[in-house]
Symmetry: C2
Subunit: 710 residues, 2 copies
């Protein structure tokens, strides 16, 4: 669901992580000396398993047919994943939910003035690429669009951000009753529709500008990896930044016996019709918009000067949608923990499986990776070397519609997860090129450099960690780790339940996102022709799962959470002159200092061999649960489903992370009472995490005092 | 000759100037109290003269026919200017030189592979614009191109800068024997050809990319002011950055009896054929270039992904040029000084008159301004209020070919000018929109804000100075003044003779530069429909001339030269680690401090009325000559015609100023002996200017001591 460009952008956010490879003989962070030996051997065995030919076979099978959520294709891929899990030695179940999905009956537009043109133009077939022909592919549409038949003059509103509409209003361009044409990019597409709706627009057309992912970026498919003239970005416009998941069960699982609201009551369904079109079609409309010239940054890559409108282009949008409750299937593979004392503790990995069409990159490359991870971990289990904690590998359905499969499952298992989840590792659109990137909750950030030191980049022969260090320049820290926003299945785990998350992928030039051209043919020509980067991601993910599954003490550094909050607070201070958040920064600094001291104490004890296993387990439980301290049951103002006080998706960004969201809004509004309230909530939340740190510290000291033997 | 975009860019360089308007009763800087009253009255009278209808009439007449240098059209406009000068009460003479010019016999290109296309496509006629049709307009060509008939594969080299060709070499793209296609912009077009020639290219095609001055910037002519599909930027590719003027008389005037070198000996004539084409034609070639994708910044505005090549596009360039010695005409209007003691002192204003086609903006708007200035100053002279020093208004010919008219005249009158010139005020392409901008030698910079305070912006009703202050933001100083580079007729005066210069213009969106569409129709639709900005520039220029012509003590601040050199030296230090230029900065700081003290002493004496007229005249002479101190007779290494040690056009930029050029090159090369030599030259030059400052300071003190009465 996340467009790749956003992920690449995330690499620029870079926060620093010290490197720590673990050559033979050295202790691995979070492990005793003996534990390190066992772990190293297990990881090395594991990393011998993923194979390009196997990943390629999975991808070919997964992309053989269309597999849109709520259709037989999706059920078919669910069965394939389920059967592989069983074959590889995992326990597996297919878990279904009945959820509200959206399909097009008929989506058309018609340019009526000043010339006649009817669209959409179908995505063009490519002779040697059978997947570009399917008559069964879902016509381009925006899921959860309202139905409607509106005819109006068109205005061009750049990316459809609030500031873009502000600019039109400043220019005196009327918006009420007009159709806004906006380009994809910069924010989640649902944001564009909600903003247009709030400004009184009658409808929205979203198109892919060639400046953003077409010929301005490079050669277009099939010559290159970028978006060709007829390719359309399908996608959901559910207001997931308010609440994701099944629109009829906001905040609770879609299981028998639970209440369902009426669709009309939902706050996450757009009220106006919206369509997605290609730049070939958009050109017909845009070149017929007059009025004032656009601000310089609004000019896109089509070969004429853009104007704001309104009109003379007069367009009819004729959108007939159907909302249907259909069955979706998650597949949950389980490797039960081998340690009786720790098997209740759950480490999760997930990736969605549903695609708008064939979805080779998004998401099938992630599914192929998940299956290679399953194969590798299953092999270890068969040898009796399965991890101590329980691992769950999750293949989610209906992510594209609004993270539906993962949200319903997380809501369904909220109690168990809140008590026992250790961390959630996410893949989505796992492979589109050779540039490996990480995002993570701060406490998990150090793990990126540690796992990257064990996996070799196939092109350069260097480790991923060395490459990252080179990319960062001599002065940079080795591996940069982005901040998690939203737009993929970690959302329920991080933002709703407060489980530390980690996301990884290997990306490159990718312009066929959510079009029929995101196919096996594209992948084998551009994304990962040798399928070696599928193996890179599988090796990284599996290594990470093994560390989290086997660590004597979970290698979480809560000090990094504190440091990050200090940064966030400084950024929020800049939003309004005179804002000072000294108390917040002081509290966060306490977390930073005490968190780091705890991490050091743990490592010293592990090094000295003075921490007994019972104490280590207790410390791990405290660390695993610590992130929950950031959860406030009341949720954020106006969107109670989002309960993490430190990160949330931006209401006007959708994908990108918004830090300290409640406080940020309060400071922006200047409401002193709200600022005080939000600050108090944050101080309490950070206080809860500090309490966890102190509890863990005591346990470490106690464990050492007791000199408990392993 | 200067493209407008470069002038706009100059606004970003901004150096600060304190404001000093002069309301009635207040003393004007450089004037005694009584002198201020007389001056204020004269200026106000003057500013009452320029009229939009008069400027419009001049422009209509000047652009009625084509007036390329060396053709009857140019002689005709010379006569028009000469007759107006006489009519307005100036003395006037038409001064001719026989110089080497370049004309196209036949300029063609042919795309042979992978498809056939022959060009150039003629510039398209526009039904209601008679000037877009002329069969007599010179076909697009690049003056002084070599003749040649070459057929070769094409490589795309972005702007044709040295770093662009370096990038191609890094990528392994062969250059030897290839034809380079490069886009206009970022540097003088002659630089592109010289760089391509130095890399072994067989020919060069320069085209106007729509990203730079076409539809990406806004609507194209006739709908908007930007470059349409068939418009071609003509221009000279003489290597003026080595030496401008008549290529046959480098450094001396083209007058009877003087030696002429053989064209084959010239160092400023390209050796390979080069043509200029439109983006309509360039598209045919560029879309047939394959090979590696271009770096992201190289992508232009045509609707496909650009590639580096070479080929498969195979192009034949068939260029037949003729070099001919033809007659050009400068028109020199003179207002002899009214003061017997000061009439040998000369204040100059100049603007060229020759155009590639109709040249409404470039240069006829400047000629219209010059004529309005002449009308206003002539009116004062008729009333016996002519300025004390001699003013010369110069209409140059053959500027487009390489500043030929002004260079030959300046070389011809070098002795007189070196002894007696006070300053040179330049206009070129004076009006293309409503944004007034200034560039100046540092010592003249303060005048910008002072004259701007007296002229009202017609749209806003505010003064130009108030507008500039608003544009700069609350913290900025009122009027920003750019650094003079090259590309117009001030070059001979500043860089060769060491005369302080000032340049002004009023600019806006302007994409028809050097095409047939730079016409009266364009100007009356986009550039200055009411012709009020022609009057703005005329009022500013005339006010400036009156100040320079009448000042009791010339209002030059040599301290600003010192301050600027300190900045330049700091920039040069950054070119190579370990470079320190402390002695140079110290010397420049001395100039800054003593120059400012002098300026203050002068003002204090004028305010107190203690400076007698003889001392004031002597001080003025010293100040007028001070800039000559920066001249080193030996010239710059490799280009002895350029003799100013502080500023020169960049060899790899052509238009933009390069500060401390000799020292900069030496530091870049790392040659310790060269650095020492260049530093010594600069120390001596600054020392000469400091000596002028001290001489003037003594004269001020002496004049005060003598208590000499006015």
């Amino acid at each position: 669901m996340v467009p790749r460009s956003n992920r690449l952008a995330v690499l620029a956010l870079l926060f620093a992580v010290p490197v720590s490879a673990s050559p033979a003989g050295e202790r691995i962070r979070g492990f005793t000396k003996e534990g390190s030996e066992t772990e190293r051997a297990a990881e090395e065995s594991y990393r011998g398993v993923p194979r390009p030919e196997s990943a390629s076979r999975h991808l070919r099978r997964l992309t053989e047919d269309l597999h849109l959520a709520g259709t037989p294709g999706s059920h078919d891929t669910a069965r394939y994943v389920h059967e592989r899990f069983l074959e590889y030695g995992l326990e597996s179940e297919m878990v279904s939910y009945d959820v509200l999905l959206s399909y097009p009956d008929s989506v058309k537009f018609e340019l009526k003035v000043p010339e006649a043109f009817s669209g959409p133009t179908p995505e063009a077939g490519i002779p040697w690429d059978k997947d570009s022909f399917s008559p069964d592919a879902v016509a381009p549409f925006l899921a959860y669009s309202a139905s409607g038949d509106v005819t109006a003059e068109v205005v061009y509103a750049n990316y459809g951000l609030p500031e873009d509409f502000d600019e039109l209003e400043r220019q005196g361009v009327p918006l009420s009753g007009k159709i806004a044409i906006v380009r994809f990019g910069r924010c989640y597409r649902g944001v564009k529709v909600r903003v247009a709706e709030s400004r009184g627009c009658a409808g929205v057309i979203i198109y892919s500008d060639p400046a953003d992912d077409g010929y301005v970026r490079g050669d277009v498919y099939p010559k290159g990896p970028w978006r060709p003239e007829t390719a359309v970005q399908r996608g959901s416009i559910q207001y997931v930044f308010l609440c994701p998941g099944d629109p009829l069960t906001p905040g609770w699982p879609s299981i028998p016996g639970e209440r369902r609201i009426d669709a009309a009551e939902s706050l996450v369904l757009p009220k106006i019709p919206a369509i997605a079109i290609s730049y070939g079609d958009a050109r017909r409309i845009l070149q017929n918009i007059e009025g004032q010239n656009v601000p310089r940054a609004w000019q896109g890559g089509l070969p004429f000067a853009y104007h704001c409108g309104p009109g003379p282009a007069l367009v009819r949008l004729d959108v007939k949608m159907k909302l249907e409750v259909r069955k979706i299937w998650n597949v949950i593979g389980t490797l039960p923990g081998s340690s009786p004392e720790e098997k209740d503790q759950i480490v999760l990995m997930g990736n969605h499986r549903d695609a708008w069409c064939y979805g080779a990159v998004d998401p099938s490359s992630g599914t192929a990776v998940l299956l290679e991870v399953a194969r590798g971990l299953g092999a270890l289990r068969k040898e009796g070397r399965g991890p101590r904690r329980t691992l769950k590998l999750c293949s989610w359905d209906a992510e594209e519609y609004g993270l539906v499969g993962s949200v319903e499952w997380a809501e369904h298992h909220a109690k168990d997860l809140s008590e026992n989840a250790v961390a959630y590792v996410n893949c989505d659109a796992a492979v589109s090129g050779p540039n490996v990137g990480f995002s993570a909750s701060p406490s998990l950030g150090d793990l990126a450099g540690e796992i990257a030191a064990h996996v070799t980049d196939p092109r350069s022969g260097k480790t991923i960690e060395e490459l990252a260090r080179e990319r960062g320049g001599p002065a940079a820290s080795p591996v940069s780790v982005g901040t998690l926003g939203s737009g993929s299945d970690f959302t329920a785990f991080l933002d709703h339940l407060g489980i530390a998350c980690f996301d990884l992928s290997s990306v490159g030039p990718y312009g066929v996102y959510h079009s029929i051209y995101d196919s096996y043919a594209w992948m084998s020509r551009f994304g990962d022709p040798t399928f070696e980067y599928h193996c890179v991601v599988a090796k990284l993910a599996g290594t990470l799962l093994l560390r989290l599954g086997n660590a004597d003490v979970l290698p979480f550094d809560l000090g990094d959470d504190g440091a990050k909050i200090v940064e966030h607070a400084a950024a929020v201070e800049k939003l309004r002159e005179g804002t000072t958040l000294e108390d917040l920064k002081r509290q966060a600094t306490t977390l930073e200092v005490e968190g780091r001291a705890l991490a050091e104490a743990v490592e010293a004890a592990l090094e000295a061999g003075t921490l007994g296993p019972e104490a280590a387990r207790k410390v791990s439980r405290v660390l695993a649960a610590a992130e929950r301290g950031f959860i406030d049951e009341r949720g954020l103002v106006g969107r109670p489903w989002y309960r993490h006080l430190v990160v949330a998706p931006g209401v006007n960004a959708g994908y990108a992370a918004e830090s300290l969201p409640g406080l940020r809004d309060a400071v922006s509004s200047g409401d002193a009472a709200a600022i005080a309230r939000e600050k108090a909530r944050l101080l309490e939340a950070i206080g809860r995490v500090i309490a966890s740190v102190r509890e863990a510290r005591k346990l470490v000291a106690g464990g050492e005092l007791k000199g408990e033997a392993r």
